[in-house]
Symmetry: none
Subunit: 206 residues, 4 copies
DNA sequence: GATGAATGAGAGTTCATTCAT
DNA sequence: CATGAATGAACTCTCATTCAT
């Protein structure tokens, strides 16, 4: 591994420092955007020296990736929690709602964070993300059929993709509620179509 | 606005210069990515001096935006052409195919170009893009009903969004053909669902 | 080649800039030593911006190497000139004198410059230096015998090496004149010993 | 002076710590060079904290100087031992051999260490070195005459200087044995020349 | 119109050193 | 005595942009 050893904080003081850096990064990102997100600014806002920052993060992107990681983890957790709590709820709507609400911070911030995560960790992360998502849907009685890779990809990405696009254009003034309904409709109808095709192929193949 | 009047190239020589700059930009973007796309490099590759470059483009982003503009225009034109030539074809598939084939350059290049276009010209561009897209679909017998803004947004963005996402992850090795079929299925099923809802509301409202 | 293209100055203004940078480097080196020789300081002293500096030199070492090159060239030229002008003079003394006088700048400066030159261009440079030196000595009637590689190395390096060492210790207060005499004596006696050994071997081998 | 009192390690544990630091420094120097020799790295490799390191050494250079000291001491001791054991051996050859073999570590490491020693302790060290060296030669029957300062300087530095230079250019592939012979010849012929001159002056002066 | 030398703010990053625990 | 988190001055180097020629 050519990765440099960056201290991983054991002492509580260090832990606090790391959190301060992450928070500062998030705030600057929200308030001023990626262009103004410099490591010096982050350190200043976090109330630590620039040297301290570099003791915990190899470079600027590492901070973003860490935040992206945390964000992804939160959403995954939320979906799981809800489905465990209310196993009979409409899982598609649950997922859509969670993704829509779950992303703290502006959409721009979010896309920056996930981009950073992908850049650092490669596609492996997304594949895990992907699979966790599918787990939430499949295994449920309603949609019990084999998914092609492409279908699975679409199911796990439509919502996030469209939300990102919608958020990128605040001028369109799309309604959150209406968008939610449309996304649920989109996914439902696609799932039904997949189901229909699966059955047809099954009977046709017999 | 600090925008300066940049020469509007009417003379053929000037036109050639502008094209050289645009081509150089595109090539560098493809070959080396945004990080290595410096204005000096562009000028060098285009065979003009950096000063000349700045006589035709206000700044680096202006070049990207111009390329983005051209790219969007091309796709729009292609769709229109095909639908005029073969008015009875499956317009959804035509659109999907066009978008899939139409984007010359790597997906990264494309997202950079459209980002630049949006940044420069704001949402106005996208709305025009948007409307052109919708024009291709509506007015056709099959899907003749009023679209909510959110539905319209989804229809005009799903394909592009998902393609971009798919392209960003070459590791998944998704099949182009299968993806095309799935996207067509996705849009068809959504349009049918919209149609069904519209009819239901119409009869329910009566 | 992975070397970045650095402009090589064609316009007179550029030429002046390059010279200013080289002079500034030399002066700082003399006055404050390598530790304080930063690129910013050089640029400042040269009266150019740091960006300009980096348009002509890839990095700090490139400046030092350039200076080292020039210095080596000067000495080589001087020795050649003197021997051409006065072919019957004591070539050993000429060389010793030239090396002693020829190095402008403090000995520290000089060793820094030659080190930089070697680092950049590898041993090839030194070998050329080496050969040029030997040319000055051999071919002369007095010392006409084959030199082993090790003997040649010693002949071409003693003077420089010892001068560098002497200069590094100003506290010893060695006299320049006495040192010159001693170095000439050292080289003469070594050459005579080499000659004697060569003759002995020749007769022994017969 | 800003020098702080650093602990003088009398306890065995402290002694072990100091040695660990010195060894770590030597190893890093050999393996990765001066550029990668950071105090943090040294402490890590020595298995002590950076704070502990600074309890025994005032700064980074102090570690290098200590190593340089030890290295110089070892060589001096070796020469003395050999000459005491075999008082009739060719002392010039003994010295040359000892210096050639005695330098553990790469030539680069060695020049770094002696440089550090000189920087820290000034010329006093070298003068002692110098004198110790001369003691080995003079007082011996063969070369019993007064040395001028410059001659003494040359005698005590030629070997080290030339070896350092030779080592700095591994590309020349000089033979160790041949080099030894040449160095012995060089010193012998110089000593003979000095002797001859001394006698001539003595008789001329009478 | 074209040129390209010059600009310089500011980015990311390092590392010897300190000092509270 | 040992620790290691924190420091921050200082560094090298980039690149969009200007403007005298």
């Amino acid at each position: 591994m050519t990765e440099k050893n960056r201290r991983n904080p054991s002492q509580p003081r260090a832990q606090a420092t790391v959190e301060a850096i992450e928070q500062a990064t998030f705030q600057i990102l929200e308030a001023e955007g990626l262009a103004k997100l410099t490591t010096n600014r982050i350190a200043e806002r976090a109330g630590v020296s620039i040297g301290t920052l570099y003791q915990y993060f190899a470079d600027r992107d590492a901070i973003l990736a860490a935040l992206g990681q945390q964000q992804a983890e939160k959403i995954r957790q939320k979906i799981t929690d809800i489905l465990l709590d209310a196993p009979h709820s409409d899982s598609v709507r649950v997922i859509v709602q969670t993704v829509m609400q779950g992303l703290e911070g502006s959409p721009e911030t979010n896309s920056i964070l996930s981009d950073a995560l992908i850049r650092k960790q490669g596609q492996a992360v997304l594949t895990r993300h992907h699979l966790a998502f599918l787990d939430s849907i499949s295994g449920r009685a309603e949609y019990d059929f084999a998914l092609g890779r492409e279908s699975a990809f679409i199911l796990t990405h439509v919502v996030t993709c469209l939300l990102r696009a919608a958020n990128a254009q605040p001028g369109l003034a799309l309604s959150r509620e209406a968008l939610e309904d449309e996304l649920v409709l989109l996914m439902h109808s696609y799932l039904i179509a997949l189901d229909a095709r699966a059955k047809k192929q099954a009977s046709g193949g017999a």
